[in-house]
């Protein structure tokens, strides 16, 4: 049985912090963070329920990679919501922007190597990295994250909805929307 290593990496990433807290290796969440943890969990639950309903109504048969939708997407959504509500603005932008941008670049380079194709496919990741750093200072740049989200939507679904692309879309769109909203938000 072959398991995609990225799948393992992201799953571990999603559970490593809660596990470290249970083992006492990391400080527990304070009361505000616990409430946010609950809120982000509820949103994620709604997402899973609506996704399942969507699949049932459309009579979609989920196989292989499509089943990853119900594992990766909730992990990404919960983490994104939790980070967005817990940390200060600059730290959120740094975490989300650097992780999203770096992952995109990594995927591009791993898929195509250091070729022209790889470098071209790295461009969105590079844009997100640069934009994230500048949006900490210039709020209006947050609009560009929404534009990137719309472009992503167009390119992913212009030929119809494919489950494999839907997974990638959800994984990328959650951080993009959060980055847009956080960037445009005023200082606390």
């Amino acid at each position: 049985m072959h398991v995609n290593p990225w799948f393992i990496l992201i799953t571990i990433g999603g559970f490593i912090f809660p596990l470290m807290r249970v083992l006492g290796l990391l400080k527990d969440l304070d009361e505000r963070e616990l409430i946010i943890d609950q809120i982000s969990g509820n949103f994620t639950l709604f997402f899973i329920v609506f996704s399942a309903m969507f699949c049932i109504i459309l009579n979609l048969e989920l196989k292989g990679d499509a089943l990853l939708l119900f594992i990766l997407a909730p992990l990404i959504i919960k983490s994104t919501i939790f980070i967005s509500l817990t940390y200060p603005k600059d730290l959120i932008i740094s975490y989300l922007g650097r992780i999203t941008g770096s992952l995109l670049i990594l995927f591009a380079l791993l898929s195509h190597g250091f070729s022209t194709e790889g470098l071209i496919e790295s461009i969105p990741g590079i844009i997100i990295l640069i934009l994230s750093e500048f949006s900490k200072r210039f709020r209006f740049l947050g609009i560009i994250f929404f534009i990137l989200f719309l472009l992503l939507f167009y390119f992913f679904f212009r030929n119809g909805v494919k489950l494999g692309l839907l997974i990638t879309f959800i994984i990328l769109s959650a951080p993009l929307i959060s980055l847009g909203v956080i960037s445009l938000k005023g200082e606390e």
Binding site: E31, R32, T86
Partner: protein
């Protein structure tokens, strides 16, 4: 709910939000949210804050009209 945490931080030798957060065992962001009235602490946390700032809970927090 109104609070005077910032005022009492200054009275107690200008303690920083970070320092106060460490003393009561929460994150600095939580102290910021409490000071800005965006988060109401539990009774336990309110008591810890009062103890850390050498005052009574009633000195730190006050109900507003409509609360």
């Amino acid at each position: 709910m109104k609070n005077r945490i910032r005022e009492y931080r200054i009275k107690n030798g200008d303690i920083t939000q970070e320092e106060l957060a460490k003393r009561v065992g929460v994150s600095r962001q939580t102290i910021i949210y409490i000071e800005n009235g965006k988060f109401n602490p539990s009774v336990k946390l309110a008591l810890k804050l009062a103890k850390a700032l050498n005052c009574k809970v009633e000195d730190l927090f006050e109900l507003e009209e409509g609360d």
